[in-house]
Amino acid sequence: MTETDFLSLSPFLILALAPIIIMIVISIYRNYEVVFGFSVLSIVAAIVSIVFILPVIPHSIAPLFLVDRYSLFFITIILISALLVIFLSYDYLKQLDGIREEYYIILFTSTLGASLLAVANHFILFFLGIETLTLSLYILIAFEKTKDSSIEAGIKYLVLASVSSAFLLFGMGLIYITFGSMQFSVLEIAIRHLNQLPLLFIFGVGMMLVGIGFKLALVPFHMWTPDVYQGAPAPVSSYIATVSKGAVMAVFIRFFFNIRGFDNQSIFIVISGIAVLSMFVGNLLAIQQKNIKRLLAYSSIANMGYLIIILLTGSDKGIQAAIFYLITYFITTIGAFGVISLLSTKELEAENIEEYRGLFWKKPWIAIVMTFCLLSLAGIPITAGFIAKFYLILEGMKAGLWILIFSMIINSVIGLYYYLRVITSMFSVANENLLPSVSVLGKVTLAFVTISILVLGVYPGWLIDFIVKYAIL
């Protein structure tokens, strides 16, 4: 390993070292604030280290790693999201009894797994990353040991994720026996000269789609989503919805564009079908939900359905649109779950829509944050979600994906209905339940989220510039 190798892996080294240090610290002196502060510092250090890598990219550590602009961009998004989740976790965990410092250790290992996915250029690292991520997530989901629903969600995720991993491995194996390589760039070269893809290879991609579809919660691999979102602690739900899905999306986009999956007729049809199904199933099932965490779970299914449209455009601009969409989706989802976690108390998770009745008249600022998040998810102007949806539709139309775009439009209207339901209840007459007071840290995080939503909604040009410059495969 050369010096450059070490330098380009510095975010990973920081992410790997931090949990070890926390473990040592805990064994000497257990203090919640200290662990929290150290976690924040480590994430910030990892983000800062990216600045120093910039001069040496693209840098490939053969055969596993490929550190380029694209991966660094994704790592930055992942780390910032993780930081926001840590901020929101502070209050949520503080009120819990028993040990809670370990939460941050697990959060680091899962973030490490997520970041590895962004640099993966090889099936081995792909699998390694995904397993590191999911293994940590089981623990995070079941972190509230005293709650049955939390344990149940953890076990559900454990069982289903293992099955999906098996599919993923099987698919990788099939591709390996076809071309004799597990490296994306080698596969790309091997495929380039073929007129027709071998059947075994397509089958392998199909198998991998099952595994990836599970992680992204696409229909028909979505069954776990509502239960896990509901059972997991609210900050963890936001983590699954953002970091976990974003990282899988990062590696999936890279893999899919390397093998040029959009050129193959059958893969194209399968992905289109999954996209349309995800949109409709997600949105239609969300309408009936009375639990806001389940509602957001179904909404995330639909959102991933919108997002994978972009795989089929097969253009760099499409990837840029996808990244813009992911960023806004991250911000809004963290905002929405942030509101839930800040309003939750030890006894009661604020998850029934009924509990949000009249929120605007009791805690106007929190309700405004939630309103902006929901409007952004619905894609209403002056929010970031509108620009993101516009970008996606624009690129989709450019590629001539009319059916997908129209089903996206229909679904936007369906989606609007249930987002409005939550908003309506927040603005209707108040009932007499007591709400916990919100800490300064929580307020600052929510303020940051809301301002980002507004800024990206009104003046998105700079971010698009930034994406165009840095997020290129």
Binding site: W361, L375, I380, P381, I382, F386, I387, F390, I393, L394, M397, K398, I405, F406, I409, S412, V413, L416, Y417, L420, T424, F427, S428, Y459, P460, G461, I464, D465, V468
Partner: protein, 511 residues
């Protein structure tokens, strides 16, 4: 820059009103009132300084916004948008005044929403960038949703939903069309832009034009509304608070009409010409069906809401007549309907404030109790049925004359609407102010505030009726420009067709 300031003032006023709502209940009202008066006065001063209205834009402001997609902040003002702005600010002031006593809860947030809606409407009337236009088009929805959903009557939630979903669904279709137009223009010229001026001359095949236009039509016809798509309107108008009904009827519906004139006619000359017969039929159906339903209602606000459907039928009839006479009529109709229907909604609001019902069967004989209100009701019912001397008469007459030029049958059928209008207007008077006293209501006549509102509305509607010439003068260049844009293309098209058929016949001849 004045155009951007007009909107920014409204937005700043909105925020101030909201914040001041925490202090007391009067401050937000005053702030909103001042905001609107500043805007109105500024615009009037500008109007007085403008010597001549030419076919150029009076003011044209252009800035970059999202450069990557060719989106700009492009506002421009011509006679048509100027008139619409005057109407918006005037009725904005009225709507603050009528809510003075009606709205007592969450006053700050109410006025925040009110100003935000008005900002959205002003934006729609000024935007010359299609993306920006859509932005403002959608911006009006959320605050209007809150206005209906929070301060409305019994079934407010359902009405608010219906309003939002109808407009949003049709708006998204328009959005797709905007993007399609963007691509069609970009592919043929290499310039990808949302700018209205540049998109004006886009070449497209007849079928493409028709497809793209249908998306725009969906949005405008739902807003207008045209009969099969009018379902949201009676609910929204009935359940909204008085100020909400006023803004919905007098301003929001006008954005649909404005969209037809500003976008459909010049952007899709050929497609809109081929759609004209259907458009006129829809107009006539709207006139007659709206009138019939209005006659059958017992809820006063619902009745007035259906008269809107009928009156807006005239607008679409006029728009698809493609001549100056009809277009002048459309402009007057937009203003006159805004004033007269707005006034009727205000009256309905005042009645239900006093006797807590909107059921006209429970009213009757109210003239004795409130003669001033009765007189105002009489004037605006007469306006609604198109009595000469009031604005609506000029409007409907011009539209019918214009429509007669292009389609005699439709014009004749539309005339029946005038009779129907007489029926429902007289029914309002009969049931509410004349007839037998059903219950002994205790009610006061109009207060000084309400009298001021009513008198100012009467002055405007009578002014329009007796001396509409200034409005004609202001609107004329803008309307002619629209028509030129339209006719140029259609003539070119028909000439091409003619040349083609000539060639064909010659070829046939030589064979």
């Amino acid at each position: 820059m004045i155009l951007i300031y007009l909107i920014l003032i409204l937005l700043a006023g909105a925020l101030l009103a909201w914040i001041s709502g925490n202090l007391n209940h009067v401050l937000p009202r005053v702030i909103t009132l001042v905001t609107l008066i500043v805007d109105l006065v500024w615009l009037i001063i500008y109007l007085l300084q403008t010597v001549a209205f030419s076919n150029k834009w009076l003011i044209d402001v252009q800035h970059h916004w999202i450069l990557q997609f060719g989106i700009g902040v492009h506002f421009a003002l011509d006679g048509l948008s100027l008139l619409m702005l005057l109407l918006t600010f005037f009725l904005g002031i009225i709507s603050v005044l009528i809510s003075w006593k009606e709205i007592n809860s969450r006053v700050g947030f109410f006025h925040f929403n009110l100003l935000l809606i008005l900002a959205g409407i002003v934006g729609v009337f000024l935007s010359l960038d299609l993306f920006l236009f859509y932005f403002f088009w959608e911006l009006m929805l959320v605050p209007m949703y809150f206005l209906i959903g929070i301060w409305g009557h019994e079934n407010r939630t359902k009405a608010a939903y219906k309003f939002f979903l109808y407009t949003q669904a049709s708006g998204l279709l328009m959005f797709i069309s905007i993007l399609a137009l963007y691509f069609v223009h970009g592919n043929s010229t290499g310039i990808y832009t949302f700018d209205y001026i540049q998109l004006l001359g886009t070449h497209m095949s007849a079928s493409t034009g028709l497809l793209i236009m249908s998306g725009f039509l969906a949005a405008f016809l739902v807003k207008l509304p045209v009969v099969p798509l009018h379902n949201w309107l009676p609910d929204a108008h009935t359940e909204a608070p008085t100020a909400g009904s006023l803004i919905l009827a007098a301003l929001l519906l006008k954005t649909g009409a404005y969209g037809l004139l500003r976008f459909i006619v010049p952007l899709f000359p050929i497609a809109s010409s081929s759609f004209a017969p259907i458009g006129m039929i829809l107009g006539v159906i709207g006139i007659l069906y709206g009138a019939k339903l209005a006659f059958a209602q017992t809820d006063l606000k619902r009745l007035i809401a259906y008269t809107s459907v009928s009156h807006m039928g005239f607008v679409i009839l006029g728009v698809f007549s493609f001549n100056e006479l009809a277009y002048q009529g459309v402009v007057i109709q937009m203003i006159a309907h805004g004033i007269s229907t707005g006034a009727l909604f205000i009256m309905a609001g005042q009645l239900s404030e006093r006797i807590h019902t909107r059921d006209i069967n429970k009213m009757g004989g109210l003239w004795e109790k409130a003669p001033f209100m009765g007189a105002i009701g009489l004037i605006f019912s007469m306006a609604s049925l198109g009595l000469p001397g009031l604005g609506n008469f000029i409007a409907e007459l011009l539209i019918l004359l214009g429509a007669f030029k292009s389609n005699v049958l439709m014009s004749v059928l539309a005339c029946i609407g005038l009779i129907a209008a007489t029926l429902y207007s007289l029914r309002i008077l009969q049931k509410v102010f004349y007839g037998v006293k059903n219950t002994d209501w205790k009610m006061n006549d109009l207060s000084i505030r309400e009298k001021t509102i009513a008198v100012s509305l009467v002055i405007v509607i009578a002014g329009l009726g007796f001396y509409p010439q200034p409005v004609f003068n202001i609107a004329k260049p803008a309307l002619l420009k629209t028509l030129d844009e339209h006719n140029e293309k259609t003539q070119l098209n028909s000439e091409n067709l003619k040349v083609e058929t000539d060639l064909k016949s010659k070829l046939y001849f030589y064979k």
